[in-house]
Structure formats: C-alpha cells, structure tokens
Homo-oligomer: 243 residues x 2
Amino acid sequence: MRRLQDPAARRRSGNTLLEGPNLIDAALNAGVVLESICVAVGGEDGPALGSVPPERVVRVTPSVLRAVAATESPRGPVAVIEIPPSEALVASDTVVLWDVADPGNSGTLIRTAAAFGWNVAVSGGVDPWNPKVLRAGAGGHFVTRLSQLGEDPLTELRDAGLSPVALVASGGSPLDGTLSAPVADDRRPTPMALLVGNEAHGLPVGIAAACDAAWSLPMRTGVESLNASVAGGIAMWALRHRR
Amino acid sequence: MRRLQDPAARRRSGNTLLEGPNLIDAALNAGVVLESICVAVGGEDGPALGSVPPERVVRVTPSVLRAVAATESPRGPVAVIEIPPSEALVASDTVVLWDVADPGNSGTLIRTAAAFGWNVAVSGGVDPWNPKVLRAGAGGHFVTRLSQLGEDPLTELRDAGLSPVALVASGGSPLDGTLSAPVADDRRPTPMALLVGNEAHGLPVGIAAACDAAWSLPMRTGVESLNASVAGGIAMWALRHRR
C-alpha cells in the first residue's frame, strides 16, 4: 500500500489509495469496489465499513496506518481501489488540466468540474490518481468522466467534437456574464474543451494560439493572476449557462 | 527567523516571513520594507534584491535557508517583514474568512479578493500572516485591505455599514448571474460582508441565521460541496457587478 504513493507502482499495479472516511464514503456511494481497507485498531470504523466484506478489512496499529498514508496524521481508514480506465472523450463541455502540477489544484478542479457537470481531461502534469489529488477531489473523480489525453491532445479534443478554448491570465477576451461562445449551425453552442494551464507557466503560447479562442478573467491592476483552481472554477461556473 | 513559523513568536515580535522571489517582489512592488533578507550563497538574487540596502542582506548556506523556510525546497530568498496593523473596516464589499483553517485556502481567498477588489476580514481560523498563508496569497496581502475582527464580529461588520451575507454549501438562495442584493434607500447596493466558513464545518448555524441572507452555489446532485476558496472565489466573481 505504501508503494502506491509512487506513480510507477500505481501504473504497475493499476491500483491507488483513498485516504480518510469522507473520501472512502464518497467512493462507496458511487459504487466503487474497495480491494482492501486498512483500519486502525481501536479507531472509529465510520459508516463506510459496514458495506465492506470482512475479508477485505485489515486492522493495523496507528503507526502502520501512518506509514501507509500520505497525510501526516491520517484520521480513519486507507483503502486500495483499482484505477478506472481512461474514459473516451465525448462531445460535452470538458475542462482540460494542461500540465497542472499541484495535487491540490488538480483535485480541486476535478471536484469543481463534478459540481458543475463538466467532464475532465488530463494532459501531462500530476497523475490524477495520485492519492493527494484524490483527497482534494473529495469524490469528484467518481462523479465525473475522466479522460487521459495522449501525444496530440488538441487533435484528440477536436476529433471528439470539442472546440478548444484557452483560459489565460491576461490578454484573452474578458470572460463575462454575457458570454458569446462558439455556436454550431443548429444554433446550439459547440461543446468546448476549456484548457487550464500550469500554475507557474500557464498554457504554452503555441497551444493557446492554436485554440479557437482565449479568455481571461478581468482583474484589478496590480494583481498578476489567480490560483489555477480558482480561475478554472470561476470559468466553469460562468460558462455553465451555455448548456 | 525560524521561530517566526510559530504564531506566538510572530505575535511577540510583530514580524513574519516572506518566502520565495515572487512573493518578495510583490511585497517590494507594493512598497513593503524588508527588515532583513536571507539569500543562499551562490543562489540567484533575483530582481528583488537590487532595491534592498546591503546591510539588510544576509548570505547563508542552502541548508540554513532550508532551516529558515517552511517550504521543503525553498528556491530563492526568505525575508522578514513587520506585520502591518489590522485595518479599520470600511463600507465596501468585504469577504470574511470565518474560521478558515487551511493556509492554502486562506491565502487563496486573499489572493482572489485582491484580484476582484474585495476587502478582507478575518475572524478566527489560521493567522493570515502565517508564512504559508502569505505564500498562497501571492502578494494579495499587500494589495487589499485586511482587518482582523474581535469578539463580536457580526456587530463590528454591521457597525461598519456592511450587510452580512452567509455563503453556505446548501439551502441558501441560488447565487446566480442575475443577483438581487440588499439595496439601500438611494438604490445603490448596501456593501456586503460575505462570510465564508470553515472547510470541514462550514459556518456555525447561528451565525448563518443571524446574517441578512444566505446564498449557495447550485451544484449537481451527488456533489456535497466545493472547496472553500473556490466557492468564495466564484461568489466574489459573481457579485463583482454589483459595484
């Protein structure tokens, strides 16, 4: 279980870790099957455990639980699940995590996408099945469609019927309450792929230029940028009325 | 300097730490005076250092810099600044961090407030001058007005002419593009104090009930809540047109 903190071990085994009772509950509610679950002897089981077959429950000392978990003071169980296969892209609004590196930001974007009904695609950056990303995702991984993109992400997105739009810190059209979005022949808006870039570097210039549009959130002078997960969250909220 | 990671030492000395070249640059651009700055011998000085009197620059080994900083692999300098006094509340839209506990969320809310022109007030939770909060704030601390509230925060807010509004995960009026805000006699909207609660527990029920209104962000069924800094960020964005 401890090895699953490591990306190579996750790829080899096809498994990852869920830490904490809330996240495990969210997974069970979404119908995820636990391979096994580690519970501290004498600790609270929480509501989650009731539905887990007893042969999958491993009782360990608190120090073993601490060794298994990535969080410094894990409260409650740690579970192993199989990583679901990457889902095919579909023609429905999708937020694209483009080289998003911070596990907190990646998980928060997935959580927000789930809340507002966006699909998620990932191109580079932190592994979305990293246990820290899962924690910040707060169950969003199990509610939204999650696709991992390959070598030529923009082509993949276009082939799925998505219009790529870049979210940039400055220089884009102001993203506003009255949004003009790309519109198809039948006057229904074309579903979009909203690209959110890396925390330090944003989107690569060439990628932003190859998108159908670039949008920015107008900010007060003297402020350079927003946190990536806040900017992406505001954009997903602001664009929710298109659908 | 290392002691300044500790809240009691910050209170005693009235100082705090800025870690990293970007944050130090943002502070210098906003006219903040550095008491001293610790730079790794042989490391890059960055643009910030040019404007600092040489007697305030301390050159140390990388291992000393690591000992001083809270971040595990500090890149670039660490500076000491005086903590500015708490500012008086004014009758202008203010986001209230109510028992927000996570340094990342607190800093991100301050960063977003600065970007959209909100003032910030803090009631309980993590110290806004904690070095980790400053890092996540990305300079927002030096661009926005920051007030620390006392024993009776709601009265303080009302006395300053602010209408307290609770942001709650569910059960509030839907916060929407077409917002009906409290309106004063002269038809200009009353400035509001937007209360954002603790990550795990939200706002205390009694506090939310004592506010003039409670608003929620409509979410898809099956999703319980948003990250506190994303929810607060969306609300600050959605409400920016009132002003």
